[in-house]
């Protein structure tokens, strides 16, 4: 395939796919200066290296990319290179428009066949990722190839197939991203990694599916491993962390109980109060009063 680029609003091939902002292949035969400018977009971008070797700056870190490697660029994250040099080689890419949620997570649009909760889970996992490069992940390139082949061929059923392939891309990228960092050998390490993410995003309404996907496991196996390792179900373990953090905050008199409830992931102060009391015997306000009385 020769190089090409299809763009939203310009290319007739994308008329039925308003969520595809851009798709293309670039083949670069000689080093070009000032051509690869640093850009950031609102969409999600996926790049797959086909030939050559590239040194790219994603966000504020430099990565080396080789054939078979893929890079996932999140919305508003910049992609460029030192001195805007474009190295010799070839790559394909696709830009997809995504919806941003109030919580900061991403959600694919109505075109997606993913269930709302799964779509949100995938969006959250991708947006929390701080490792944009997926090494030896040529599948992404194959999926992009399938997408543009369908776009150019316009065979019967192509509209559905293109959207299926976009879902496939999101699913495979998510799975690869979590698996790449979890060898399946060291559960204590994996669990600690999960714990750190949970603590960083305690206000988020976590689902078991999301937690499982974060460490690259299906929910059945995830539930089993968490229970046997920690003694708690994933949700109960999460509640332990929430209450522990809440206790810390309750000991600081200047934060309101409602704020504590929301900061620690309870959806209301009522929900917080009930859960807190069930475990500790105190209402949060009583706990606070009691602690302050000890002073």
């Amino acid at each position: 395939m020769n190089q090409f680029v299809l763009q939203h609003g310009r290319s007739a091939e994308l008329r039925l796919f308003p969520h595809i902002m851009e798709v293309g292949i670039k083949k670069n035969g000689s080093i070009q200066l000032n051509t690869f400018l640093s850009t950031a977009t609102e969409g999600l971008r996926m790049y797959c290296i086909l030939e050559g070797r590239f040194e790219w700056r994603i966000g504020n870190q430099t990565y080396e990319l080789l054939p078979g490697d893929s890079a996932l660029i999140l919305p508003d994250v910049s992609l460029g290179s030192e001195n805007s040099v474009l190295d010799i080689g070839a790559f394909s890419w696709i830009h997809i428009a995504v919806q941003k949620q109030d919580s900061g997570g991403l959600q694919p649009g109505n075109w997606s066949g993913l269930a709302d909760t799964e779509g949100a889970a995938i969006g959250n996992i991708l947006s929390m990722s701080n490792r944009p490069v997926l090494t030896r992940f040529a599948d992404a390139g194959k999926i992009i190839k399938c997408i543009y082949t369908e776009l150019f061929g316009q065979e019967i059923g192509y509209q559905a197939r293109v959207n299926h392939q976009l879902d496939e891309l999101l699913i495979q990228v998510t799975r690869q991203m979590t698996r790449q960092h979890h060898s399946g050998r060291d559960f204590p390490k994996t669990f600690l990694h999960l714990e750190e993410i949970l603590r960083r995003n305690l206000a988020h309404q976590w689902t078991v599916e999301e937690m499982a996907a974060l460490v690259g496991l299906g929910t059945t196996l995830f539930n089993e491993r968490v229970k046997s390792y920690s003694g708690f179900s994933p949700i109960n373990y999460l509640i332990n962390i929430r209450i522990s953090e809440a206790i810390k905050l309750l000991k600081q008199p200047e934060i309101s109980v409602t704020d504590i409830a929301l900061d620690t992931g309870f959806y209301s102060s009522q929900h917080f109060s009930t859960t807190f009391r069930k475990l500790t015997g105190y209402k949060p306000s009583e706990f606070r009063k009691n602690h302050l009385r000890n002073q």
């Binding site: 559960f187 196996l221 000991k251 475990l279 500790t280």
Partner: protein, 518 residues
């Protein structure tokens, strides 16, 4: 019907057990809480999470096993890992996380003190080896490097003292935990003035010293209600995990020793006399006024075999390390004792007893062209256990060890227990289905209730039904190879120093998370 509940605050989590008065387990639960390593040398835990985990487990244990059968809880007895430090402010609020035994930030302070005359006299007075694990050195570190926290700290607690304070509002520390702080004089039984002076603190900044049988005050009203326990439920300060593992195996008395192999390990004896050692290799912790638990700790126990399994085991199912370890052990059994002369030094995270060398590193030695994968597996297990034996051997210079028991997750694996028997050339007793630490805490509580007159009598009732007899031929082989093992462990000292300093120089330590418990 009465029952006794024990709460073990361990390194990786909390275990609660309920026993009937005959010592039979009614029910048990465990809950994990994490250890954070924000810096390579740091090892910290969240005190509130430990408290919530404890509360949660206790509540579930009561609701599942105790209340439905109308048991009356006679007492709740605590035991915990040693050497933790948690600074709290004047309101009792934690100032940051608790620092665990595995924390190594006071490395420099420990080196200096260990080399000094004061170090030697403090070791003799307190029974705690001069090592970064010691609260004495952690508090000293805080005084020099974290002055704000040091100055704000109204008290320096152990994790257990903090948890008990949450339940009852009292600040108490039992003799066993206190004697592992490096701050207590184990002969005079009181805080050691010179140690406190070195750390820059006064006794009012420490919890109150209490014998292990002491009730720690009344359960707070809210917990009486939420746990559905009467106000007169006794909360006992209890002891340490090391002391309780020893008591729980019935090791009180002449000629008995016990080996614990969890992630790390220890060999311990118990009795009225301390172990004296010019080289400061042993600990002497206090169980009661006239009973010491003494021995040597190793960094490198089951965690080293887990490391090996993660690197070289076959994982049929993700994260199923138990099956992978089992498969490896089956393969190891195909190789003769002694691994045809392949030796393994297990010092992947430095070593405490007997060589007390934080710079020590691991090695396979004696490789020849005939060695296969299975030899590496067996040599790895043998190396971990030679290390246990080497502690037992120097203990044997002061005590005539006639009978041995083994406990801990890895210790009770039959292949390992047999190997211990062969190396020591002694019968080794064990109990497959129990948890020695919690059983020790049960014996403590039962003695407090008067079921046993003394701890001696309580220990005397312990039965360890599984006996592994030594194989003389294996013993002869191990005894031959152990000589080389022992010479390597000390003879390589200068190379250990060289390689570990190069590892630090080339940044492995800065980036890595594996080298924590040096």
């Amino acid at each position: 019907m009465q029952c006794i509940i024990t709460i073990e605050l361990g390194t990786n989590g909390v275990r609660v057990f309920a026993f009937d008065l005959d010592g039979r387990v009614i029910g048990s639960m465990k809950g994990h809480h994490p250890t954070f390593h924000t810096e390579p040398d740091y090892s910290e835990q969240d005190p509130e999470q430990i408290f919530i985990t404890t509360l949660y487990l206790l509540k579930n244990l009561l609701n599942e096993y105790i209340h439905p059968k109308k048991y009356k809880v006679a007492s709740i007895c605590f035991c915990a890992s040693m050497h933790s430090v948690l600074a709290v402010d004047k309101n009792g609020s934690p100032l940051g996380n608790a620092i665990t035994w595995a924390d190594n930030r006071a490395r420099k302070e420990a080196q200096e003190l260990r080399a000094s005359a004061l170090g030697k006299s403090l070791y003799t007075a307190t029974g705690t080896p001069i090592h970064p694990m010691s609260p004495l050195l952690k508090i000293t570190w805080m005084r020099h490097h974290d002055q704000e926290r040091f100055n704000l700290a109204a008290k320096f607690l152990s994790i257990k003292s903090y948890i008990i304070h949450q339940f009852t509002g009292e600040y108490k520390v039992d003799y066993s935990i206190a004697s592992a702080t490096g701050l207590m004089n184990i002969h005079a039984i009181g805080w050691e003035e010179d140690a406190l002076k070195y750390a820059g603190i006064t006794p009012d900044r420490l919890p109150d010293l209490a014998p292990i049988f002491t009730p720690a005050g009344r359960l707070k009203k809210a917990y009486q209600q939420s746990l559905n326990l009467p106000a007169d439920t006794k909360i006992l300060v209890g002891s340490s995990d090391g002391c309780m593992a020893t008591l729980g195996d019935g090791v009180l008395g002449e000629g008995k020793a016990t080996i614990t192999i969890e992630d790390s390990g220890a060999v311990r004896v118990m009795g009225p006399r301390v172990l004296k050692d010019e080289q400061m290799r042993f600990f002497n912790y206090l169980l009661t006024e006239n009973c010491y638990v003494s021995g040597g700790p190793t960094n490198n126990g089951g965690n080293i075999f887990e490391w090996f399994t993660r690197q070289f085991g076959d994982f049929a199912n993700p994260y199923d390390i138990e099956s992978s370890m089992q498969l490896l052990i089956e393969e190891a059994a195909k190789v003769p004792a002694g691994s045809d002369g392949l030796l393994f030094l297990p010092y992947l995270i430095g070593e405490r007893a007997p060589i007390w060398n934080a710079d020590a590193r691991g090695a396979y030695f004696g490789l020849n062209i005939k060695h296969e994968r299975q030899h590496f597996i067996r040599a790895t297990i043998e190396g971990i256990l030679y290390e246990m034996y080497s502690i037992g051997k120097i203990l044997g210079e002061q005590r005539n060890i006639k009978s041995l028991s083994v406990n801990g997750t890895f210790g009770v694996l039959p292949f390992w227990t047999q190997m211990m028997a062969d190396m020591f050339n002694r019968p080794v007793r064990t109990r497959q289905r129990s948890h020695s630490v919690s059983f020790g805490a049960f014996l403590l509580s039962a003695t407090e209730m008067g079921i046993y007159k003394t701890l001696d009598e309580a220990a005397g009732t312990v039965e360890l039904p599984d006996v592994f007899s030594p194989d003389k031929r294996h013993h002869a082989v191990y005894a031959d190879y152990f000589g080389v093992f022992e010479r390597l462990s000390t003879g390589l000292a200068s190379e250990f120093e060289a390689i570990s300093s190069l590892q630090r120089k080339h940044a492995g330590v800065q980036q890595g998370e594996s080298i924590q418990a040096l």
